[in-house]
Structures are given as structure tokens and as C-alpha cells.
């Protein structure tokens, strides 16, 4: 334990001195220290630039579009015939397509996702949950193009056997498959919300002789409702923005209809069709792309805001 006797006396290495000597390199450090925050700020601004870029491109071209097609015609028109000699740009067929496909998707995703969440959070043992949850997450990681392939080559033929009037391209099949794709999202977000309900609350109900089902229905779900609803809204937002499944499996008919056995086009599929056809810059149809994209953007943006508002506003305090 004779520490220091040799330490400073006649040292081969005098650290103090060396540190003093190296002080010149401190200038570089100081420079880095000054520059780094600014550099990082610039990098962090890129995410903002991205948003600005999105808004700017969408807005400016949309503006140009509305110079050519009155905004009222766009939002109230039931006929979308962009390529015809006498083009018409009513967005309603796309809106109905988008809404109907999303509604179908949520008809699948909400009940199944919620019930899955309930099973995982309230009924499954730890072990079961730990095996099932990652498997469900695989479902969420499968690329949408694969779901599109699946919808078109597998689900549609099966549905056609069941539903005679169903067209080869229809909105029903991609809607269902989209719902399947969204199940893990709804399930996992709802499960998070339900698991964060304190155990004490469940025990309080169980101690009154409630069954698991009653605990779930009357205590857990009401307490977790904001998170659950937020998961639904995010699911809807996801369905609205989903592209490949509908593009592949619903064809490109711009029907203004509510018949789910028919082919319909969503906003996203329209964008793919028009850009896939690579509309020449400057044509009205080219600008229509941005108007549709803008509508889509606003839709999903509002949905996301709504989800965040709900989960903040209605969070139970316990």
C-alpha cells in the first residue's frame, strides 16, 4: 500500500506535465465543442426539412391543380376520368375506395386485434405471451407487397367461391388482408395499454368475485380505453396509407360505389397508377397526383393527431 512514494518523485512519466503540454490539442477540442452542436442541429433539422419538403411539394402543386380544376369540383365530383379526352377530376371515387377499404380492414383488425390483446394481457400466462407475441410481430414485419400477392392469388379466389358476385379485383379481399396486416398493431398497442392498468385494480375486482371476463370488460378496458382507441385510430391511419395491397388486389376502377364486391381505387392506388404510368410533368393529371396525395396526407395527419390527442386526453389517472 505504499502508493505515492514513487509516484511523483523521479517519475519517468509525469502526467500532469504531459496534460499541460497537450493543452494545445485542446484548441481542436474547443473547436469541435463549438461546431458539434451546430452540426447536429443541422442534422436534426433534416427531419423538419422533410416535413417542410412534403408540405411544400404537395401544397404548391396542389395549388396549381386547383387553378385548373375548381376545388369544389374536386371534392364533390363523383366521376374520376383523368385520362379521358374530357377529363374529370372528382376525388369522391377515391375517397370512397379508401374509406371502404379501411372500414373493411378495421372490421377485421379491431375485433381480432382487441380480442388478441385481451387474451395476451388478461388470460395468457407469461410463457404463452412471450411465445405468441413475437410470432404476431412477424405478421407485422411482412412486407405489404407479400400481403398483396397473398390477397390477389389466395384470398380473392377463396372469397369468390363463397361470394358469387365477387369480381376478380375487388375491394373486399384487400380490405380483409389489410385488416390482417393491422391486427398485430392493434393487438400490441392495446395490450400495452391494458398491461399498464395496475394489478391492484384487477385484484380489487377479482376479490369481489368477478370473473376474468368481468374484470376485463368492466375494469381493465374502461381504464385502458384511451390507449385502445388510440390503437384503433392508428390502425385506421395505417389502412388509409396502405398502398400495395390495394394496388394489386383491387384493380384500378374509379367507381363511385359502395358495393364491396366491385373493384375500387384508393387514393394510394391512384398515385401508383398515375406515377406508374409516369404522367408527364405539367399535365393536369400530373398535378392531380399532388392533390390526391395532399388529401391523403391530411387524412393520415389528422388521424395521427387524433390518436395522440385521445391517448393524452383520456388517459385515466390511477
Amino acid at each position: 500500500m505504499d502508493v505515492n512514494s514513487e509516484m511523483n518523485k523521479g517519475n519517468a512519466v509525469n502526467v500532469r506535465k504531459m496534460i499541460e503540454q497537450k493543452k494545445s490539442s485542446r484548441n481542436l477540442n474547443n473547436l469541435i465543442e463549438k461546431v458539434m452542436p451546430k452540426l447536429l442541429f443541422v442534422i436534426a433539422s433534416i427531419s423538419i426539412l422533410t416535413t417542410v419538403g412534403i408540405l411544400y411539394t404537395l401544397l404548391s402543386e396542389t395549388f396549381e391543380f386547383f387553378q385548373r380544376v375548381p376545388i369544389v369540383d374536386f371534392f364533390t365530383g363523383t366521376v374520376l376520368r383523368p385520362l379521358s379526352q374530357d377529363p374529370q377530376f372528382g376525388v369522391l371515387p377515391l375517397l370512397t375506395g379508401t374509406i371502404i377499404s379501411s372500414v373493411i380492414a378495421m372490421f377485421v383488425a379491431i375485433p381480432i386485434g382487441l380480442m388478441t390483446a385481451i387474451f395476451l394481457s388478461e388470460y395468457a400466462s407469461d410463457k404463452v405471451r412471450r411465445t405468441l407475441k413475437p410470432m404476431l410481430e412477424i405478421l407485422a414485419g411482412i412486407p405489404t407487397i407479400v400481403y398483396g400477392f397473398f390477397a390477389f392469388t389466395f384470398v380473392t379466389p377463396i372469397l369468390r367461391d363463397i361470394i358469387p358476385g365477387l369480381q376478380a379485383t375487388n375491394i373486399l379481399s384487400p380490405g380483409i388482408v389489410m385488416g390482417i396486416m393491422i391486427i398485430p398493431m392493434v393487438a400490441s398497442l392495446s395490450e400495452d395499454a391494458m398491461s399498464s392498468v395496475p394489478r391492484a385494480m384487477r385484484e380489487g375486482a377479482l376479490a369481489l368475485g368477478a370473473t376474468r371476463l368481468e374484470v376485463t370488460g368492466k375494469v381493465v378496458i374502461p381504464a385502458a380505453i384511451s390507449g385502445i382507441i388510440a390503437s384503433f385510430v392508428l390502425g385506421i391511419s395505417r389502412a388509409i396509407g396502405e398502398t400495395m395491397i390495394v394496388t394489386i388486389a383491387s384493380g384500378s376502377t374509379k367507381n363511385f360505389t359502395f358495393d364491396i364486391t366491385q373493384s375500387m381505387q384508393t387514393m394510394t392506388a391512384y398515385i401508383v397508377e398515375v406515377t406508374g404510368g409516369d404522367a408527364p410533368a405539367g399535365s393536369t393529371i400530373y398535378y392531380s397526383l399532388y392533390a390526391v396525395a395532399m388529401t391523403l396526407f391530411v387524412f393520415t395527419f389528422l388521424m395521427n393527431l387524433l390518436a395522440r390527442y385521445i391517448s393524452r386526453r383520456f388517459r385515466e389517472e390511477y
Binding site: L83, Q167, A168, T169, G277, A279, S283
Partner: protein, 313 residues
């Protein structure tokens, strides 16, 4: 025949140029690279993509030929702009407006016919009543003035079921050919199902007993197991569309149309690989026309094109 091009091919040294062409090609075969960009007609796409592939395999492995299929009209949109595509396939002739646009942009365009196509009407394989229809009956199905919504509106003995007419959408030359040359610019019937992808149409017809659609012969021959063609009676008895009947002056002639590819001449002058590919297309198109569902061109036209291309050297 080479309508539209502002630069008339020099027809004078037709024979003499034959050798030099091949010399050039042989020389060029050594070291060509770069890219050739082809877009346009979906009808022509199967033929053009096979040509492109064969060209890259057998002639110029270092040249990259991309073939897209936006449709004739959309393709022209990308072709007739500065720095646009090198070729645009078309299932109709270039329009006057499009030529004007080319001129305005200072783009010199050369037309090549590449093959002959028969506009084919297809129905479900189990549709046993509409296998033979007259030209007028067909038109009445698709025309807004036809007054036909059910099969029984055509002939009373046909089923009392709604007809589901379909076709390619307005991106496509096929649509425009139909609209301009067959409907004579009359409106299409309400509720006609227009699609971007031909494959979607094939599917729709294959799955619907009451469907009837029209598109290029090639998409029919490749799917004969799923759909059947309507034999059309042009007044002299029903004619089955086939490579023979859609050939020049065949019995299917009223519904036959040439398909084209248009070359940006400046690109061909600038980029040797574009010129070389043009030459390849012209000289080999007949070899692949049959297998992709087109009728071949007369040799005379091919010679004409060759001499034009020689003039660009």
C-alpha cells in the same frame, strides 16, 4: 410509310448501304455501352422487352435497355420532352398535337412500324353464346349509343344478363385506337371497366361469364387457356383472329392496326447504342413477332427503315 418524321430517309443508296451497316454493327459490337430507355405502349411491351433482352444477351451485353410500359400516350408525354426517353412504343400513330409538341421542343422523331396487331375481343371460356358476333354488335356493346346493357338486347336468344364491358384505360393506345377508329370518337358506354394493367383485364374476363374486353392479340394468345376470342363477322362470315388473319390484308383487317415504336433521332445520333438498338429492332422484329402474338411486317418496310438508319451515321 414513315409518316411524321421531319427527316425523310435517303432512299437513294439503298443497296449500297447494306454492307456498311453490317460493318458498323460488327465494329460497334465490340465496345458499346450506356443505356437505352424505352417506354410507351403496353401492347408492344411484350415484343419490345423480348427484343431488348435478346439484344442484351446476343449483341451488346454492356448496353442496358430498359423497357417500361406506361401506355402509348403517357409514354409520349415522357418522350416528347427534352432529355426524354429514347424510344416510345405506340399502339397507334403519333397524333398531330404530339408532332407539334415535338417540334416545339426541337425533337426529331422517326416512326417505325414494328408489327401488326389485331384488336381482339375476349370473353369467358364458358360463354357459349357470344363466340361469334358481328362488327356492329360488338360496337353496340361498347358504344354509348348502342342501347345495349344486357346480352339479350343484342339477340333475344342470348341470356338475360347484364354485359360487363371492359378495356384498357385512356393511357393506352389501344383505347385510343378503339375510340377513334372503331367508335369513331363516339362515347363509350357508361360503366365500362377501364384498367391500367392488361393482366387485370385478363383476370377479370377469365373470372366473369358476362365480361367482354378488348385488347391486343398478344394478350389473348398468351392466355388462351383462360379466355376465348370472339370471332368477328365483318359481313363475310365470322373471322377468327389469328396471326394469319391479322396480317396485311388478312380477313381481320378492319380490326387490324400497325403498332409502332418512335425513335428520338437526336438521341440516335448522339448515342451509338440507341442507333444500334434501333437497327437491331428493325432487323429482328419479325423474328419475334409471331411468338409474342403479332403479325410480321413486309420486308420492304424493313429495308426502308434500314436505309434511314444508315443515313444517321
Amino acid at each position: 410509310a414513315c409518316g411524321g418524321g421531319s427527316n425523310e430517309p435517303a432512299e437513294t443508296d439503298n443497296t449500297g448501304s447494306e454492307d456498311t451497316t453490317e460493318d458498323n454493327a460488327a465494329e460497334a459490337a465490340e465496345d458499346l455501352d450506356g443505356s437505352v430507355v424505352v417506354d410507351g405502349s403496353g401492347t408492344v411491351y411484350p415484343l419490345m422487352s423480348v427484343l431488348a433482352e435478346e439484344y442484351m444477351i446476343n449483341e451488346q451485353p454492356n448496353v442496358s435497355v430498359e423497357v417500361s410500359r406506361s401506355g402509348t400516350s403517357a409514354g409520349f408525354g415522357k418522350f416528347l420532352v427534352p432529355n426524354g426517353t429514347d424510344f416510345n412504343d405506340a399502339s397507334r400513330e403519333i397524333k398531330d398535337e404530339e408532332l407539334e409538341e415535338a417540334e416545339a421542343n426541337g425533337i426529331e422523331v422517326q416512326e417505325f412500324k414494328v408489327a401488326l396487331d389485331g384488336l381482339t375481343f375476349v370473353i369467358h371460356p364458358e360463354n357459349d353464346w357470344a363466340k361469334e358476333l358481328t362488327e356492329e354488335e360488338l360496337i353496340s356493346i361498347f358504344s354509348a349509343d348502342g342501347g345495349v346493357t344486357k346480352w339479350s338486347d343484342i339477340r333475344p336468344e342470348f341470356p338475360d344478363e347484364e354485359i360487363k364491358p371492359m378495356g384498357p384505360n385512356e393511357n393506352h393506345g389501344t383505347y385510343e385506337f378503339f375510340y377513334e377508329n372503331i367508335l369513331d370518337k363516339g362515347d363509350l358506354v357508361d360503366g365500362v371497366n377501364l384498367q391500367q394493367e392488361y393482366s387485370t383485364l385478363v383476370n377479370l374476363v377469365a373470372e366473369d361469364k358476362n365480361a367482354i374486353a378488348f385488347f391486343g392479340f398478344g394478350y389473348y394468345v398468351n392466355n388462351q387457356d383462360q379466355i376465348q376470342a370472339v370471332n368477328v363477322d365483318f359481313g363475310e362470315g365470322p373471322v377468327e383472329p389469328s396471326l394469319d388473319t391479322i396480317a396485311e390484308d388478312g380477313d381481320y383487317a378492319p380490326f387490324t392496326r400497325p403498332v409502332f415504336t418512335y425513335l428520338n433521332v437526336d438521341m440516335a445520333k448522339e448515342k451509338p447504342q440507341v442507333l444500334d438498338f434501333a437497327r437491331y429492332v428493325v432487323n429482328n422484329v419479325n423474328e419475334f413477332a409471331g411468338e409474342t402474338g403479332f403479325a410480321p411486317l413486309p420486308e420492304s418496310e424493313i429495308e426502308e427503315y434500314n436505309s434511314f438508319l444508315d443515313g444517321l451515321n
